[in-house]
């Protein structure tokens, strides 16, 4: 490793150029399209039933009742969020849902029962669906799960394309390898963060202006926290793509490998876990295992997740840089 040759001005110049070049090169454009359509479609799928419920309520009782809408969202969202966070298994969630249904049919005092049920929430679920705007929390959870699959469309071609056409040889007359490697990584991260900001801002603006069931200040604060969580989450996945891109000569192979690695780790952990329980720990080869903690209420959890994120990034970047520094171009 030859980090002594790192030049901040060069890294800055390369990262700025790279983030602007991302759209021109095609990968940034494709990522922008896929990320925006995915993010906003997720929001639409979550928000649309609520809007229909509001329209129905207005038709039936002549006015909207945001409190009742929020309560309905909590009732429906609670078991789903508990399952997604791994607080309860699928069997537990379905069993509880069935018993709640039976209680409601037998017991006419449903409000008292519902109150007891709500108080039985674990703190994490309670934080996400009661203390914070639940709709935004659900959207964040889906984006946290889905965005790692999308990020490789942006980050797959940081190095491999220029290795394939030998373009890097001309660039290396003017700067060092470490400046190119880290500059492009930072440029890609900057672009990804900007796209996340657009998605979160659009969804929050829509919720605030059109749906209007949460106070604007709550929405804004939670949106900033969610945006930071998403932006930080993308960094280790971009580093994985940097490592793969620095290791292979073909951009297409780099894209396929990035997809296989990111999705494969999750798939192997889930499928392997059925056959042999400890196989579920494969999940921790990438941030999959702890990434939901980025929106945990306890500082120890979210801070731990941020530190883990940085540690993964440092690990993959180091491997990628060693490979790039020593390889034949």
């Amino acid at each position: 490793m030859n980090l002594k040759t790192i030049n901040i001005a060069h890294v800055r110049l390369i990262s700025l150029y790279w983030s602007r070049y991302a759209v021109r090169s095609g990968s940034g454009l494709v990522y922008l399209m896929i990320a925006l359509v995915f993010g906003l479609s997720v929001a639409h799928i979550i928000i649309m039933p609520v809007e229909r419920l509001m329209a129905l309520q207005k038709k039936q009782i002549g006015q909207e009742n945001p409190q009742l809408i929020r309560k309905t969202i909590i009732d429906i969202g609670q078991p789903i969020i508990q399952f997604v966070l791994g607080v309860k298994s699928f069997e537990q969630v379905t069993k509880e849902a069935a018993s709640t249904q039976m209680h409601r049919q037998n017991d006419t005092s449903s409000t008292a029962h519902s109150g007891n049920n709500n108080s039985a929430f674990d703190p994490w679920t309670n934080f996400l669906i009661e203390k914070k705007p639940a709709l935004l929390s659900v959207i964040f959870l889906i984006l946290i799960f889905g965005m790692p699959f999308v990020i490789s469309f942006l980050a797959f071609n940081q190095i491999s394309g220029d290795v394939q056409n030998h373009g890097l040889r001309y660039l290396l007359l003017r700067t060092e390898r470490c400046n190119i490697f880290f500059g492009r990584f930072i440029g890609t991260t900057f672009f990804s963060t900007a796209v996340m900001a657009i998605i979160v801002a659009t969804i929050t603006f829509y919720l605030g202006m059109k749906v209007r069931i949460y106070p604007a200040s709550d929405l804004a604060i939670w949106a900033v926290q969610g945006f930071l969580a998403l932006a930080i989450l993308m960094v280790p996945y971009i580093a994985v793509c940097s490592l793969i891109s620095a290791s292979v000569d073909s951009p297409f192979l780099s894209l396929v490998l990035a997809k296989v690695v990111i999705a494969g780790v999750l798939l192997m952990a889930i499928l392997g876990g059925f056959a042999w329980k400890p196989a579920k720990y494969i999940l921790y080869a990438l941030p999959w295992g702890w990434q939901n903690n980025l929106i945990h209420p306890a500082p120890a959890h979210w801070l731990g997740a941020v530190i883990a994120s940085l540690a993964y990034t440092a690990f993959f970047l180091t491997l990628g840089y060693i490979r790039f520094e020593t390889r034949d171009l």
């Binding site: 454009l29 399209m33 639409h44 059109k210």
Partner: protein, 152 residues
């Protein structure tokens, strides 16, 4: 500027244009078939929301249908032509036609949102924003990032 220097983003834009144009043309066939059969759909056993949607479509009338059909056809043709223009890096076929497509699509999205009932796909929702992503991106990119590439 020769075609060998065509940026990857412009090629990607052309490919996306062809895909959307193909979808649009297939959608036109579906739209025509749907309009031909809409009067024969029984609404007795449907839920209220579905019933309202079908009834709104049944009451839409031929002139409105023709306007929607022609706008969709125009949009698909403009996408196809501008896609060819991007590949050949033509100023008129690429940049001008691409800009016309983007402006027409943005205007028609806004107008249909205002004029049509929510049951007919009108009103404003997140899918309206999703529908505006590509034309807005086209408008921005053709006049900034790829401005100097479409000069033939």
């Amino acid at each position: 500027m020769n075609e060998e220097k065509r940026p990857g983003g412009l090629t990607a834009l052309a490919v996306i244009n062809f895909i959307f144009s193909g979808w649009g043309l297939i959608g036109l066939i579906g739209l025509a078939a749907f309009f031909a059969l809409i009067g024969k759909i029984p609404t007795d056993n449907m839920q209220e929301a579905q019933k309202a949607q079908i009834e709104a479509l049944q009451n839409m009338g031929l002139p409105v249908f023709i306007i929607i059909f022609l706008l969709s056809l125009l949009s698909s043709v403009l996408l196809l032509l501008s896609g060819i223009g991007y590949l050949k890096q033509k100023k008129f076929l690429g940049r001008t036609i691409g800009n016309i497509y983007a402006v027409i699509t943005i205007i028609s999205s806004v107008v249909s949102g205002i004029l049509f009932a929510p049951d007919l796909g009108g009103g404003f929702n997140i899918m309206t924003i999703v529908g505006l992503i590509y034309p807005v991106l086209t408008l921005i990119l053709l006049n900034t990032t790829f401005k100097e590439d479409l000069t033939n």
